[in-house]
Homo-oligomer: 344 residues x 2
């Protein structure tokens, strides 16, 4: 039974609570701190996009196509589908000689409701570019462009989301190398954007992020790719999320001291390169916005050196005031005492 990580308070009592597990691991694989079951395999979903983007750089595709930092950042993103995101994804596809038709992620309305309404007001329907995973998929297609060699790219890339496609084989190999977990024998599901997702214990996910943050334990080409992706995201944190998003707000403020990435179903991973630590969180009930984020903010507070202004931002994310439709303060989200003690 995992402990409570986050509580939603109202009227002086705990109205709802989120249980989960957290692993903090160094680059040698030593567990620095943990709560709950960190050995149970969980689907990391979009939290591992940076690991899935390693072959894009390591293969030479990024150099061959001249990908910019913005484009590398959006390859690691679960973005809001704001105009800046879709423009960068479209540009990235164009570098490979492709367009949105090649994306196999499916279309959905942008995550951010005001953007939905702006589009509706302009009579625009969503395309695959608006899918929060479109940058990751554009990265897969750029990798396909490299792997295709002299073959017809459109034909070669077709079905790239399939587990047996060379693109996905390369992505899966990177995930396995970084996590050190045998993906051939673990549960495999299908992600929201149709690529496979593999169940991996939090301890291994945290270890992978410690490796991404330090380069230790990665092959040299993957270590260099990890550094380049982290730098790209630190320079363009808007690209990985967007307006109002946790990842964007934290990395805009903390720069390269934190690389963090939310995933669906309450998963959150991060690298704290200065400390050499990786962090992986899974909220049992799958809640991201108010549970995994609050827990991650508390973890950053505990293990990353920050100044007073940065501390204030982080506290506003780990101890969140809840207001109602009239703007009245009605409650709060807060990291549990148990999580605070772990971090302390």
């Amino acid at each position: 039974m995992n402990p409570i990580l986050v509580e939603a308070m109202r009227g002086g009592i705990c109205e709802s609570a989120h249980r989960g597990a957290i692993a903090v691991v160094d680059a040698d694989g030593a567990v620095i701190a943990s709560l709950g079951d960190i050995e149970r395999p969980v689907f990391p979903r979009s939290a591992v996009k940076v690991l899935q983007a390693l072959p894009l750089v390591a293969s030479g595709a990024a150099d061959q196509l001249g990908l910019s930092d913005e484009e590398l950042a959006v390859a690691c993103a679960s973005h809001n589908g704001e105009p800046a995101h879709t423009a960068v994804v479209a540009r990235m596809l164009a570098r490979a000689g492709l367009d949105a038709d090649a994306l196999e992620c499916g279309a959905h309305w942008p995550y951010r409701e005001p953007i939905q309404r702006q589009m509706a007001a302009a009579g625009v329907e969503p395309s695959a570019l608006h899918n929060n995973c479109s940058g990751k998929h554009a990265g897969f297609l750029c990798l396909a462009c490299r792997l295709a060699g002299g073959l017809d790219l459109r034909r070669y890339a077709r079905g790239y989301v399939g587990a047996e496609h060379p693109v996905m084989q390369s992505v899966t190999a990177a995930l396995q190398a970084a996590t050190g977990f045998d993906l051939a024998t673990t549960a495999r599901g299908t992600d929201g954007c149709s690529i496979p997702t593999y169940a991996i214990p939090l301890r291994h996910l945290a270890h992978a992020f410690a490796r991404v943050g330090t380069g230790t334990g990665l092959a040299p080409d993957h270590a260099a790719a990890a550094r380049r992706l982290r730098t790209a995201v630190a320079r363009h944190p808007f690209m990985v999320g967007g307006t109002g998003r946790f990842d964007t707000r934290v990395m805009e403020r903390l720069g390269e001291r934190v690389f963090c990435k939310v995933g669906a179903e309450g998963v959150f991973c991060a690298a704290f390169p200065e400390r050499g630590f990786g962090v992986a969180i899974k909220v049992d009930d799958g809640n991201n916005a108010r549970a995994a984020e609050v827990a991650m903010a508390a973890a950053i507070e505990a293990w990353v050196s920050v100044d007073d202004g940065e501390a204030e931002l982080l506290r506003s994310l780990s101890d969140v005031t809840l207001s109602n439709w009239n703007g009245l303060e009605v409650g709060a989200l807060r990291a549990s005492d148990e999580l605070r003690r772990l971090a302390g």
Copy 2:
């Protein structure tokens, strides 16, 4: 520690799980079945709107103003803010000589995203009429109209959301009488629409719904009011939710055999009048859409007599196929074995 009520499956494993408690109680207060802690007080939020609407009818306000069944139904609603909802709420306010300016619930964009986009395309901003609670608040204002007697209604009604206002005192007294729980000494919070919400154990909430479903244990005027409200909702189930909503879909199909009402933070209450049972569910983590609803569907399957077509609808709500953006089946939501055994 409450048991798992609902599981989210992916790739053959349980990806996320929702714990919670459920009480099934008869009109005499006997516990027919339960799982988890049903004595811990929880905020029932919008699940008790039918109890909060009892004084609207019992006071004579509904008769005095000639409220229709549609209007009584929307007084019990957490509606989608669709045009049919806002029109009925506006008509209800007009009967009391008021308009949307009198509503103290605050404004928000309609719950249903396609309606948001339709409004944005038409250049329309949301008003308090679109607030999912606007019907309940219109009911409070109609009650105020009755209680005001010869006083100036606008002045009298001002601040009706306050716990000490005669309107809210009347509403709270009805809640206390139906639940048999001392609200003066329990935790009090502020709801999303600014009225007080009182923490009440699930056992008492389920008992209140058994009373609403049967009339047993209510004062004669409240028993008559409960019957009238249930009938109104059964005739106009669209009014309590709207397109695609669980409450609407279930009551459109099952009519007076089920009166169910979702509340925020994973609360769900229902009356099964034929059986004389009341049901109250609280999901620990506050998840409604995929946890409280799945659990309630399983409860209805267990305790309400249905034909094959109705059973199929209910099974589609308690054993839900999850598809991704490409329409691929990626997982399922399902009632836990423990919940199924309880119900069996």
